[in-house]
Subunit: 236 residues, 2 copies
DNA sequence: TTCTCAAAAATGATATCACATAAAGCAGAA
DNA sequence: TTCTGCTTTATGTGATATCATTTTTGAGAA
């Protein structure tokens, strides 16, 4: 019924925090598919907890727009349509370019080294076909950059966008293996070393476009038969 | 102890939704100040409810970054510092310009008329000194524009930013009365009529800068004695 | 077989309770 | 007076119980 990847539970974590973190991680890596029927009590039983902390975690996730709590006792992952994907991608580009630009003055050589280390680790995960770890490392790569700015407030928003793209992650990562794209992360690192804001923005946009963008559109085209008859009417 | 403006409770609203909406509105218009000590049980007693729906509403608000649930049984409105205000303002500009640009192709004459009507109403509220209604109408003015795009996904993010600027609203509105600024909304409407994306972005940035930006910085300078000795070290 | 509808089961929302722990109050010492 | 440490109070968390609704199921009719 469910298959939520386990996570480490810090002793100081409340139950509600644990449920939230575990569900969030599961959605982020694409382990929860839109088809799966979620219920508060079902999740509580699966996790061997009472419904209370589960409901609170679900509410938080709906505020982060990772899930939707429909009024009629249905909990769902928002359905993705072509125009919605387009909007989310554009928003992600705007947000991450903004975050990168605001972080640039705080970027140090040490930080660039950390990012390169994460990027190297990603190559290992590609070799070992560890798709979830690859997703997490990819996020980590971006997060390290954006949090260089100590006053930064945009990261939670960006993570909310990542959550909304969660259901695409696994397909995206799989598509990445096929194409074996030019490594946009290397371009990001180069732009950082040269403190080139314009190049940085271009590299980030390309990274998003080549990753989620291309793969996401292919998934949508392949998986939605009705979009073949009315390709542009997904939102009606 | 509390003074949360009352709101209309739709019969279909759950208690948790009602609490969330009422608190959210109160924070948005600046009725909840950072000094106020909030507790789950205190709020529940004030609203004559059980703690459960109150806790859920507070959790959602913390996910929207309207409040912070500190581990040590303290709930607070995040303290504003000069660099944090700067970051939030820049983020708001980026987000609202993005939203406006994405909405522009969907803007119709009818929509512009609706926006102008809202702007006219704001002038009335300035006359009648109804500051909260002025804030709400100001948000409404922007919201109508951004939701012109039917696929729009950015509005919840923008509202989260508005929430974070909530504690400044009342001072800001008061400052607006003093300066009686050039009406940036008129510039926005002109840019919309001419379908001029660049002018629209400039008008929105100016609107934010002249409104929250100027007033917010003044409030911070006036109200924070320690920032006089170390003007740029607010975040350390 | 398929449809209809009533009974049964499941579910979400909320209140209440018990428990652990943090905050507040307060008495006595310095 | 001010600080220290203990007691009391208040608070957050999570489990459980109850109630109103929704969903599901299945028997009988078409």
């Amino acid at each position: 019924m469910f298959d939520l990847p386990e996570i480490y539970r810090h002793p100081a974590m409340t139950t509600q925090e644990y449920v939230h973190a575990r569900l969030r991680n599961a959605i982020m890596v694409g382990a929860v598919q839109p088809e799966s029927t979620l219920t508060i009590r079902g999740l509580a039983e699966y996790l061997e907890l009472s419904p209370t902390p589960v409901r609170e975690a679900l509410r938080r996730l709906s505020s982060e727009r990772a899930i939707e709590l429909l009024g009629n006792r249905r909990i769902s992952i928002p359905v993705m349509t072509a125009p919605r994907l387009e909007e989310i991608l554009r928003l992600r580009m705007t947000l991450e370019c903004h975050a990168a630009r605001r972080a640039l003055p705080f970027v140090s050589e040490v930080l660039i080294d950390r990012m390169r280390a994460i990027d190297d680790r990603m190559d290992d995960y590609i070799q070992s076909r560890d798709l979830d770890a690859l997703t997490i490392s990819n996020h980590e790569f971006h997060r390290v950059l954006y949090t260089a700015n100590p006053h930064q407030t945009v990261l939670p928003v960006i993570e909310s966008v990542w959550l909304q793209l969660g259901p695409f992650q696994r397909q995206m990562i799989r598509a990445l293996e096929q194409f074996y794209l030019i490594d946009r992360h290397k371009e990001i690192l180069t732009a950082l070393r040269e403190r080139d804001a314009a190049a940085l923005a271009l590299a980030i946009e390309a990274d998003i476009e080549d990753g989620i963008g291309r793969a996401g559109r292919e998934v949508l085209q392949a998986g939605q038969p009705e979009s073949e008859t009315h390709p542009a009417a997904g939102w009606m």
